[in-house]
Structures are given as C-alpha cells and as structure tokens.
C-alpha cells in the first residue's frame, strides 16, 4: 500500500506536472529554511532511520551526490546501486525486478535511467516513493526545482522575469522543463540557439505567448535578468568543423557580458566544457556554482516532504 504523504502531494515525483503551484512554493520555502542544514551549520536529523536508494543506471555526479548529501545531512542513510557492471543488471535483470527488490530495502528510491518513461514504470512497480532523476530525453524535475530555487534566491522573485535560454535547446531536457516551469510565472523568454538546435515545436506549442527565438545573443542581452546556458554537445554534429563553429559562436566571456544589466545572473546545469569562459566566474553574474549547491537544500526539502512524519 502506498504510504500517506505529509502534504497531499502524489507519492512520486516523475514530472513537474506532479506539483501544484502551491507545492512548488512550499518546497522552495522549505529549501530556503534548510540552507543552514545543507551547509552543515545546523544539525537537523529529520530523516533519522530512513534509507534512500540511489538507483543510477546512467552516470551522474551532481544529482547523485546531492541526493546523498541531502539525505545524510537530514540524518538519513543511503544505499547505491553501484557500478552497473558489477550489479545484477549486467546479468540481464529487468528494471521491474531490480525496483521490486529495492522496494523492500529502502524508504524511497531516486532513479536515473536511459529509457523514457522508466521512472513512471518503476513507480508503478513500487510502493515506496520514486523520484525521477532523469529518464532519457524525458524529465528531470528536481533540476527544474533547483533552477527555480536559484532564480528566486538570486533575483528575489520568480514572476515577470526576462529570461534567455542559450545553447542546445533541441535536445536539452533541462531547458524544456525550465521553459514550461517559467511559463507558470509569466516570464518573457528568449530562446537563443543555432537553427539546428532550436527549441522544438512540441515544447513551444505548450507555451503561452511571450517567447521569441534568436540565433545570436547580442540583440537581447541588455534586456535579460537571467541567462541560462547549456552545453552544445559535440556528438550532435556529424561534422567536427560545424561543431567548432557553432560552439565558438555561443561562448560567453566577461567581454560578451559588457552590455548586460548588473543584476543579470548566469545559470548553467553543469558540467560546462567551454561555453562559459572561466573569467565569468569572477563577475557578479556567475551563479552556477551556487546553483549546484542549491541542489542540496532543494532535494532536502523534497525528501522531507516525501518521507517526513508530520
């Protein structure tokens, strides 16, 4: 039987659509309160005795480590799937069987899997809450939550911002979910990408008016409150020269940002390769390392919401 939840949310987090506007505000408020706990300055063992299963069927650094940090900072413990080569998955075990096993071991499981729909499939197989940490080209809702949290922390609000999303907008699931989430807050959105990597129609079709597409950053940079940069992946280009030309045209440096508003903040889901020059790190615009840290309090708030006792 699914266990009862603290705040009426569904027991799983598969997509951002599982969260109401009130759920999101509640999570971001809780995350803000949990920042000192995330830093280790305050000891708050809310999840003592609880066990999280980190089920990563694909490589991950930040997401896996921040879930582990979040759980341990709240006094809980973590078990890991470990390397696929040494697990029973390499012997041909199905996802269903693996998840049924974990269902008996843990109080909650975090799943990353290369196949779309894997998280919902796992949630159907399990009684414990399942948190989707990326299912192929599908969804990664905790990344969107930490992006929203970072925007609110950095700019003081979520409503009515002018936002640029730059880089690989075609394949990047992060920017698809973020655009859908920002639309809830009446953002004016500018999508900046080479034509071959433009925001797909299936994403823009779901957005209200208030977005526009560009191939260069210069013309709209001075208007932006926020610039969200994503990596352009080499493997998307059959011709290495095409890649070099496109990647070079979408590199941000301190010089590029000369005409930006002082309040402009730059976010990036990381890892970066060379799309943001290191000289940006020392400007007031760089918020991406704080963004990476914010994964911890946001995931703490979510774990507390799904596993907390009150």
């Amino acid at each position: 039987m699914p266990r009862p939840l603290a705040k009426g949310m569904s027991k799983d987090l598969i997509t951002m659509d599982d969260l109401s506007d009130d759920d999101i505000v509640g999570l971001l408020d809780d995350a803000a309160r949990l920042v000192p706990v995330a830093h280790g300055d305050v000891h708050l063992p809310l999840l003592e005795g609880k066990l999280l299963g980190n089920m990563f069927f694909e490589p991950s650094t930040r997401t896996r480590m921040s879930f582990e940090t979040a759980m341990k900072r709240l006094g809980g413990n973590v078990i890991n799937l470990g390397a696929l080569a040494s697990s029973s998955v390499s012997k041909g075990e199905t996802l269903y069987d693996t998840m049924r096993m974990v269902d008996g071991y843990c109080d909650l499981a975090v799943l990353r899997h290369p196949r779309q729909g894997a998280a919902q499939y796992a949630a159907d197989a399990c009684t414990i809450p399942i948190v989707n940490a990326g299912d192929g080209a599908g969804h990664h809702p905790t990344q969107t939550l930490l992006d929203l949290f970072t925007i609110r922390e950095e700019l003081g609000k979520l409503e009515g911002l002018t936002v640029g999303l730059l880089g690989d907008l075609r394949y990047g699931r992060t920017v698809h979910s973020l655009a859908a989430a920002l639309a809830r807050y009446d953002a004016t959105m500018h999508f900046i990408a080479p034509k071959s990597l433009a925001m797909p129609r299936r994403v823009t079709a779901e957005l209200p008016d208030g977005w526009s597409a560009h191939t260069t950053l210069d013309e709209i940079l001075p208007e932006l409150d926020l610039l969200y940069v994503t990596r352009i992946q080499k493997e998307r280009f059959p011709d290495p020269e095409d890649y070099a030309r496109v990647a070079g045209a979408y590199t941000i440096s301190a010089e590029t940002l000369r005409d930006a508003k002082p309040v402009l903040r730059i976010l990036h889901p990381l890892p970066r390769v060379n799309e943001i020059a290191t000289d940006v790190d020392d400007t007031g615009h760089a918020a991406y390392f704080r963004q990476a840290f914010n994964g911890v309090p946001v995931r703490m708030a979510l774990l507390e919401m799904l596993l907390g006792s009150d």
Partner: protein, 152 residues
C-alpha cells in the same frame, strides 16, 4: 430461387461485427488474425446503411471475441457493434468503446520508451481524446494518433 439467395447467410454460432466504419473491415480482419484458425469468415464491404451511409460487416462462425480483440476493434472503428450469436439468435450485443486504458494491445511509437525495451513490460496507452482518437503512453507520455497505432 433468386429471392432465397442471401448475400451472406445467418450464422448459427459465432460473432457478427456490425456498423464498422466503411473501409476498416480488412484492417480489422488483419488484426483479429482469423485467416489461419479454420473458422468461416465473411467480410462485407460498403454495405448500404441508413445510419452510416456505408458500413462494413464481419461474420466469424464458431468464435467469440476476447476483450483484447474487442479493444482492438474499438481503436480502429469506435462505435462498431459486436453481436454474439448463439443458435441463430443475438445472445449479447455490445457497442465497442475505447476504454480509458488500453493495456498490451498496441505499442508506444517511441522506440526509446521503457515499454519497448524492458523484457516482460506491458504497453499501456491512456485515452486522451475519442474524436479524433488520441492516446498517450502511460510511461513516457508520448501522444499516439490513430495513424500511428501499431498493434502487438
């Protein structure tokens, strides 16, 4: 003599699928896979109908349809009637409807969907719209139109 020649004679036991959308009969025979079963099957195409203008009819002797087969018919020709015939009389009559969830009947068109890549997984399509027929994969949420349906 000519008066007694019926286009298709009544069947004693079996199933009559009536009110099929004109032009869907062949496709339905294909998915019902009745060719090799040894049952006598009749297909009438473009039969005049006062309600539909034209319709197709299928009669299968000595066989009653399973739930999964009825769901397949509903996906191709919603509103068709399935009549179970026992001893020349209509024993049961059902207007087929696409259920809210269709499991194990048609695959998700997304080749990277877990339902197409996991051993033993059952496809699950959820009804989004009856007219036109739109379904969505319960796992990856991919929208499936009538033209994209691939039956399992």
């Amino acid at each position: 003599m000519a008066d007694k020649l019926l286009k298709v004679q009544p069947i004693r036991n079996g199933t009559v699928i009536d009110h099929l959308r004109a032009g869907t009969g062949l496709k339905i025979l294909d998915i019902l896979d009745v060719a090799d079963t040894g049952n006598t099957v009749s297909l009438l195409i473009n039969v005049p109908s006062s309600k539909q203008g034209r319709k197709d009819i299928i009669k299968i002797e000595d066989r009653e349809l399973t739930e999964s087969e009825t769901e397949r018919i509903a996906l191709i020709s919603p509103g068709a009637h399935v009549n179970i015939i026992r001893n020349y009389s209509v024993a049961e009559k059902t207007a087929v409807e696409i259920p809210e969830e269709v499991a194990g009947v048609a695959r998700c068109p997304n080749t990277n969907c877990i339902s197409n890549n996991e051993r033993g997984a059952t496809s699950r399509l959820l009804l989004r719209s009856r007219e036109p027929v739109h379904l969505a994969c319960a796992y990856c949420a991919r929208l499936v139109t009538e033209d994209e349906l691939q039956f399992l």
